[in-house]
Symmetry: C2
Subunit: 371 residues, 2 copies
């Protein structure tokens, strides 16, 4: 399977809107993005010698390592591959081919079973479809596993996507007792802080290895970090070369990640607060249901009593009429004739008033009703 | 192992030179490169809708497929990984884990045995260290193999890096008879045409699958194509997703590859002719040996009766004194107290007169002698 992409028609409509809520494709305004990277290179006096020798990459790796409270980091250009690599390293260390993951794991759904086809690993599902992993899930697990992959937030569980820090610490204790390594798939770790009420290092220190991303909330063209002990990252570097995802050859991706990270870093918590305010306004409305009522992160679900087809047509109409583009995609809900979308607040949507965002969804709903 | 990189000191010297012969790092003048991509986007009216829907990528894939005379192509961001993928596909089809490759293969030397560690494949060395693969090498091979990887040019064999088209066709015949698939690792296929005296499609059609690159001679930031039948490319797409090297997420890398390809395409043969002229002038000199006397491609070796250390020091002096930077690296030769370098002609060096290039190497040699 490949990544989500707008059709040419939807992309065209999306581009014509100045009001946008959702995930912004990294292909949008690519020319301006390249210009901004250029300006950033000048403003930050990024030197060819440092780029070429790897010093620029090393400095960013050190910056993120310090933030996450780990010994070392490695810049890579694929998060999917990075998480496979972490599991493979723990398998090699323990001699066990089995590892645990949540039943809704990205590794299962988006990567064509790469963990098995490439790394000859076997996955055990831990926990339940409808809630994040808990310590009791690990406690009752009968299988022997090398490591457990934990997604924070656990996006696909339906809204309540984060366990408490207490739960994470309890999971850590059980993992230590059973000699199971914990890998954090923390692509969106950046927006977990308000709910977990702690700092990034405190979360990451409950894990033996971690992955964080610079696309998604950070908004870069790509790239992420594999993080952990110096020994882990040294192994990770060899595996990244084997798998073809080493960041070394992609200076533009690196600089865009650095630029976007500095530009969003101070706003991560604001994304969440903004999402909570939008959710509060939508909850007070009658045209949709909001799950969860208080978003755990900058993302929550909104359910509409409309079919996907009508909703997609309504979105196109809203784009044409009001130059407003809302929601990245719509999918069928379990309830018949209901559809849902994920509402995501990042840099673009942060600039819009919560009331304006709620109003746009109200208008969308009205258009869908009228059709 | 990671890619070749200049130290910060060498990079700084390199940057100060306006006269450059060798492989130009893609980190050099990154800001201007981004600006040129931007201008290219405008000049070619590249639309967001086409980038987002994948139409731009598809059109480039179709362009290269037509040029190579294959059914389909897939844009990927790692050539090392692309060649592993080809071998894995042929292994799956044949049910055989063993494949053949030249003893100097990139797969062996630069990728930490990824074919074995990731794909659980076993490599058989075919042919001899000191010359490219020949049909007789395959003829006498006792092992059963799924496919044979053939590098064109076979860079590491010491200078004479290309077999004849007759040899390639003979190899094809034997491979067909023995039901062995042939994979072309043609990262530098672009500069093989004058020596092989035919077109790209004629070469590629002797193989079941191919890889071509847009870095190296083409000079792009990265990216390459996996090429072959529609069925092969469909499998390749799944594997590229598994391995994390799908080009989908890297629009800037794609556009830079498109831009650089159009900018160098007409010059590939000129690179070779220019290299031959430089080699002829150097051959007439007394300060170095040239291998081969008539370069097969845009790259040949020059041997100097100087140690590596003295040569590196001389290059730094030449850069300081004359703002000339020659050769990407120097390595110890088999002959004691001799070192050698690869002289590569691509876009930057094509702008310099062959005599000026030969003179620069003479000056380098003199500085090394005086030290």
């Amino acid at each position: 399977m490949t990544i989500f992409r707008y059709s040419a028609e939807d992309a065209q409509l999306h581009e014509q809107c100045s009001f946008r809520v959702g995930i912004i494709p990294n292909t949008l305004n690519l020319g301006s993005r390249l210009h901004e990277i250029q300006q950033w290179i000048d403003a930050n006096d990024i030197k060819f010698a440092d780029l070429e020798s790897g010093a620029t990459q090393k400095s960013f790796e050190a910056r993120i390592a310090a933030l996450l409270g780990v010994e070392d980091c490695l810049f890579v250009i694929s998060g999917a591959a990075a998480c496979q690599i972490a599991v493979r390293i723990w398998a090699a260390q323990s001699g066990k081919r089995e590892f645990g993951m949540h039943a809704t794991s990205h590794m299962e759904f988006h990567e064509d079973k790469s963990y098995s086809m490439l790394h000859a690993l076997r996955a055990v599902w831990v926990g339940s479809y409808d809630r994040p992993l808990s310590s009791s899930d690990l406690e009752v697990l009968a299988d022997e596993i090398s490591c457990l992959v934990v997604e924070l937030p656990c996006r696909h569980v339906g809204g309540n996507v984060l366990p408490t820090m207490e739960e994470i610490r309890a999971l850590r204790q059980i993992a230590l007792t059973r000699q199971i390594k914990l890998h954090l798939d923390g692509a969106r770790l950046w927006v977990c802080r308000p709910q977990l009420q702690t700092n990034f290092a405190d979360v990451v220190n409950c894990f033996d290895s971690s992955y964080v991303s610079f696309s998604k909330e950070v908004g870069a063209m790509g790239g992420g970090m594999l993080a952990g002990s110096r020994k882990f990252v040294t192994s990770g570097r060899v595996w990244a070369n084997r798998q073809g995802i080493a960041g070394d050859r992609h200076p533009a991706v690196l600089l865009d990640a650095m630029r976007c990270f500095e530009g969003t870093f101070m706003n991560f918590d604001n994304f969440v607060m903004h999402a909570r305010e939008v959710a509060r306004l939508l909850k007070a409305s009658t045209f949709c249901l909001v799950v969860p009522e208080i978003p755990n992160t900058n993302m929550f679900r909104a359910y509409f009593p409309v079919s996907v087809g009508r909703m997609m047509a309504a979105r196109a109409r809203l784009a044409l009429q009001a130059k407003q583009w809302v929601g990245t995609w719509f999918a069928a809900a379990d309830m018949p004739e209901y559809c849902y979308t994920e509402i995501v607040i990042s840099l673009d949507a942060l600039r819009l008033e919560p009331q304006a965002i709620a109003d746009a969804f109200r208008r969308l709903s009205q258009i869908a009703d009228e059709a």
